[in-house]
């Protein structure tokens, strides 16, 4: 196994993306994502990579769409305000079945907000953000190791389903430094089936299109997309369960908040409180399968997020009125300590 290195989250992700064969980066710097383009740009000359600092995120996201159409691995990284600008391209990439990887280092909004950690973009990332009926797979890392591991996974999933994949990072995961084992280098795959690169021995030209001719065709086009999303929903729900088997209270938390809750669970267990956690790893598709074993059994769910209550709605849908769901959130870049969460758990126990 490769050695562990002590590395910042964003830099570990950038290195892992390069090792995953991501040869193109387009972006516009914005805190707290800027170390990703910075690292990539530094490595670009020696590694033969293409790095372009676009004039806006609108261009950067469309450049990513362009490179995806050629069958090559490309990405961008941004924060909430930049992701909002890229949403038109997100909708187009999903509709056009273009595989790409996009990192959103969430910061507290709305508007420019602060530059610290937050989970305020949950709805935007998981419910579309752009226009129309589309979805993107969203992976939410909770450690530098997972952040790095998600680079190859995100490219593989993007190509498997030919759909954009988003990494839901945040100001805390992005800037945090931890030990990490970086993924092995993979060689770029051969010519992609969908690449718009002329016939060159193929019997046909590839078209990248988002157009149907008339509502009948347009509906069929949409139904095909929906069939793809249904397949993703069926196959790609990912989550981790911690001490859930005997738990009276099951915490639901992702990313930074899941880390805080690990310590809160240890405090609670030490005091004999039976607390566990479901940690969504994909926040789209939301891991509703995880809840099936626990509903209707008198367990309480406690959702905690760094926002005003966004994922909590997906938890309510997953338990479908068969369990009580409580919520606690902090805003503006504030992150609760493990003791603060533990105190909330004690209140719930009463």
């Amino acid at each position: 196994m490769a050695d562990k290195v002590f590395m910042q989250g964003n830099e570990a992700f950038a290195e892992a993306a390069i090792r995953s064969g991501c040869k193109f980066f387009f972006g516009y710097p914005i805190t707290p994502s800027s170390e990703i383009p910075e690292y990539y740009a530094k490595k670009a000359p020696a590694e033969g990579l293409t790095f372009i600092q676009a004039e806006t995120e609108v261009s950067a996201f469309n450049m990513v769409a362009g490179v995806a159409a050629t069958g090559k691995r490309g990405m961008t990284a941004t924060a909430g305000p930049g992701f909002s600008l890229g949403c038109e391209a997100m909708s187009y990439m999903s509709a056009a079945s273009l595989p790409a990887v996009i990192v959103d280092c969430m910061r507290p909004g709305p508007a420019d907000g602060e530059i610290l950690g937050s989970q305020g973009d949950y709805n935007q990332l998981t419910k579309g953000g752009g226009h129309g009926d589309y979805n993107t797979i969203v992976l939410a890392p909770y450690s530098v190791q997972e952040y790095a591991d998600f680079a190859p996974l995100a490219f593989d999933l993007a190509e498997k389903y030919r759909n954009p994949v988003v990494i839901a990072s945040d100001g805390t995961i992005a800037k945090m430094m931890e030990n990490v084992v970086l993924p092995e280098r993979v060689e770029p795959k051969g010519r992609a089936d969908w690449a718009v690169d002329g016939m060159n021995g193929r019997g046909h030209h590839n078209d990248i299109t988002t157009c149907g001719d008339g509502p009948e065709q347009w509906e069929r086009f949409n139904l095909d997309l929906q069939a793809k999303f249904a397949k993703i929903r069926e196959n790609e729900q990912r989550w981790e369960e911690i001490d859930t088997a005997d738990a009276d209270i099951i915490i639901v938390a992702f990313g930074t908040m899941a880390r805080v809750c690990l310590d809160a669970i240890r405090l609670a267990r030490k005091d004999g409180l039976k607390v566990g956690m479901i940690r969504p790893i994909t926040i789209w598709p939301f891991p509703e399968k995880a809840f099936a074993n626990y509903i209707g059994k008198g367990k309480k769910f406690f959702v905690t997020e760094l926002n005003a209550g966004q994922m909590v709605n997906d938890v309510k849908i997953a338990v479908n009125d068969n369990a009580s769901v409580e919520f606690y959130g902090r805003l503006g870049g504030m992150i609760p300590s493990p003791v603060e969460i533990y105190n909330k758990l004690c209140e719930l126990y009463k």
């Binding site: 800037k175 945090m176 880390r259 310590d263 240890r266």
Partner: protein, 174 residues
């Protein structure tokens, strides 16, 4: 074994560098380390702080109460005195802070980092005096571990002076 530390000061004082060096030392010994930095947009003059967790298991990067807290400026003292675990240590940079700590349930160590650094090396090594003082309060990292990190991370010409500063800080804490 688990150590939770907070380093807080003003940008330019090397606060986050100290945290990184403590992490590097612990990481070399096989511990999980997490450094969570917080700094403003200013290059110099704004708050620069980091929370460091050294542990055998993965856990929260946000600390409820720390075993040792180092404060390099007065604002940091005001903000972080309350976060020291009862029985823990608060290390105060008395070169820059006149205010006294209020708590009596913790060990308070006042050290004139700049004056000590100037005596054994130069004022620039004040943060290594501070690191030495922090290391003294820890079981996980020894003075030798910290010396090794200085040798690994610093230019050869700076190693001797910074090790002297580190040792001076270490020896100052009784």
């Amino acid at each position: 074994m688990k150590s939770e530390l907070i380093f807080s000061g003003i940008g330019g004082q090397g606060t986050i560098l100290m945290g990184k060096m403590a992490c590097t030392a612990a990481s070399k010994k096989g511990y999980n380390v997490t450094l969570s930095p917080a700094y403003g947009q200013e290059k110099r003059g704004g708050r620069a702080s980091c929370q460091v967790v050294i542990s055998e298991e993965i856990g929260s990067m946000i600390i409820s109460e720390a075993d040792t807290i180092l404060v390099m400026d007065e604002k940091s003292l005001i903000d972080y005195e309350g976060k020291v675990k009862p029985g823990g240590t608060l290390i105060i940079n008395s070169s820059m802070i006149d205010k006294k700590a209020d708590r009596t349930d913790i060990k308070v160590v006042e050290i004139p980092f700049t004056e000590i650094a100037t005596k054994v090396a130069t004022a620039k090594s004040a943060n290594m005096v501070a690191l030495g003082a922090v290391v003294k309060t820890l079981d996980i990292i020894t003075l030798d571990d910290a010396r090794e990190v200085i040798k690994m991370k610093m230019k050869p010409a700076l190693v001797d002076a910074n090790i002297k500063a580190l040792e001076a800080g270490y020896d100052y804490v009784k």
